[in-house]
Symmetry: C2
Subunit: 242 residues, 2 copies
C-alpha cells in the first residue's frame, strides 16, 4: 500500500498549498497543516522529515503547477523559438503575481548554500527553450549564459511586481525589461538585404547631414571627400534607401 502513502502526501500538500495561497507563508505551520489535513503532528513528521522537507515538497508542488501551466500555454506556438521566449517571460511573471506566496517560496527564498532541487525542472525548461533558439541560429550567446541572464531578470521583475501592491502595479517596466533582455541574447530574424541596406544608407545620410551643417561654413573639414563627391554620395545613398 505504498500508493496510499503517496496519495496521503499529495492530499497533505494540497491542503498546505491552500493554506499558503490563502494565508501566506506564515499560515503554513506544521500544526496548522496537520490539523487542516486531519492528521496529527507526528504523522506529518513521518511523511516529511522536517518543516524544511515539507516546504521543499511544497515548492516542488508549486513548480508542478507552474510547469503544467507553462507547458500547456507554450504548446500552442508551433515553432518560433524567440516568440516562445517572450511568452515564457510573460507566463513566468503572471504566475508570480497570481501566486505570490508560492513564487516567494519557489524563487524568493535564496539561501547561499541551498538550491531547491525542484527548481531544476523549470530551469531545464528554460534551457530547452533557449536550446531550440540556439538550434535555429537565433541566439548570440551560449545557452548557459542566456539562461542566467534571463532567469535573473525575470525573477527581479517578478519580485518587484509582487512587492508593489496590486494597485500601482506597472507592467510596462516588466515589458521593457523583457524586450531588452531577450533582444540582447537573441539575434534578429534574417532580414532581407534590401531593407538592411536602406536603413543603413539612411543612417549614413543623416550622419552626413549633421556633419555638414554642424559648424556653419567650411564644415566639411571632418568629411574627407570633395563637395562634388559628397553630393554624388548622398544621391547614391538616397537611391539605396529608396
Amino acid at each position: 500500500m505504498d500508493e496510499g502513502r503517496r496519495a496521503a502526501r499529495r492530499q497533505v500538500l494540497q491542503v498546505a498549498a491552500k493554506l499558503l495561497e490563502e494565508g501566506g507563508s506564515e499560515a503554513v505551520s506544521t500544526r496548522a497543516v496537520a490539523a487542516a489535513a486531519g492528521i496529527t503532528a507526528p504523522a506529518l513528521y513521518r511523511m516529511f522529515d522536517d518543516k524544511d522537507g515539507l516546504l521543499a515538497e511544497l515548492a516542488a508542488y508549486g513548480f508542478e503547477m507552474y510547469l503544467a501551466e507553462k507547458r500547456e500555454a507554450l504548446a500552442l506556438t508551433p515553432d518560433d523559438p524567440v516568440a516562445d521566449l517572450y511568452r515564457g517571460w510573460d507566463l513566468h511573471v503572471d504566475f508570480g503575481v497570481q501566486h505570490p506566496a508560492f513564487y516567494m517560496l519557489m524563487y524568493g527564498t535564496v539561501r547561499p548554500g541551498r538550491r531547491p532541487p525542484a527548481a531544476d525542472e523549470a530551469h531545464a525548461l528554460l534551457v530547452r527553450l533557449l536550446g531550440r533558439a540556439a538550434d535555429a541560429g537565433r541566439l548570440r550567446v551560449p545557452v548557459e549564459q542566456a539562461t542566467r541572464v534571463i532567469l535573473a531578470a525575470t525573477t527581479g521583475a517578478t519580485l518587484a511586481l509582487i512587492g508593489e501592491g496590486p494597485s500601482e502595479r506597472d507592467l510596462t517596466a516588466s515589458a521593457r525589461l523583457r524586450d531588452t533582455v531577450i533582444a540582447s541574447v537573441t539575434t534578429d530574424p534574417p532580414a532581407s538585404p534590401g531593407s538592411d541596406l536602406a536603413s543603413r544608407a539612411l543612417a549614413l545620410d543623416a550622419a552626413l547631414e549633421t556633419a555638414l551643417t554642424a559648424g556653419s561654413p567650411a564644415a566639411d573639414a571632418g568629411v574627407p571627400l570633395r563637395a562634388t563627391e559628397t553630393a554624388l554620395l548622398r544621391e547614391w545613398l538616397q537611391r539605396l534607401a529608396g
Copy 2:
C-alpha cells in the same frame, strides 16, 4: 538624556547587525539580540515596538552602510552620469554578495503590502543618479521607468549571485545584464561627427558586402547601382571610415 537612548539603540543595532552577518537571519531573535547587547527582553521591546520594528531599523542600518559605501565610491567620478550608473550597479551587486543576509533583509523580503521605508533612501539615490543622466540628455525613457527597470534587474542579478554558492559564482551574467539594461535606458554619448560617420560608413560597407555576396551571381539585383558606382561608393565609404 535622549542622546543616551539613541546611543543605546545604535549599540543594539550594531550587535544585531553582527548577529545577522555571522549567523544569518535565523540568528536574529529578540532573545539573542537582547542577551548579546546586555539588556533584557522588555528593554528591547521598549526600544523597538515589535520584532518587525527591530528588523525594519536593522534594514535601515543596512541601508546606511550601503549608502555610505555607495556615496563614497560615487563621489570619485566627477561627472559622467552614465558611467555612474555602471558603477552604481557594480556597487549594488558587490554589497549584495558581501552582505548576503543584510541584502536579503533589505531587498529580498518582499511582502505584497509592506514596503520598507528605509529603501526609499536608496531608491532616491538611484533616482538622483538617473535624474542627472536625464539632465545630461542621456536618458531615453522617463526617470521613473528607468528606475524600475534598473532596480528590478539589479536585484534579480544580485539575488541570483547570492543564490549560487560563492564557488561557482559567475559574474559575467551580471555584467552582461548590466550592460544591456543600462544601454537600453540610456543613449550613446554625442559622438564627434567624424567617428559617427566612420562607424556608419563601416556598417553600410559591411551591409553592401553581404548584399553582394549573398546569392552567388547577379546578386546585385537588390542594389540599385551599377557595378562601377558601387565600387566607387565602397571606396568613398572606406575613406569615410579611415
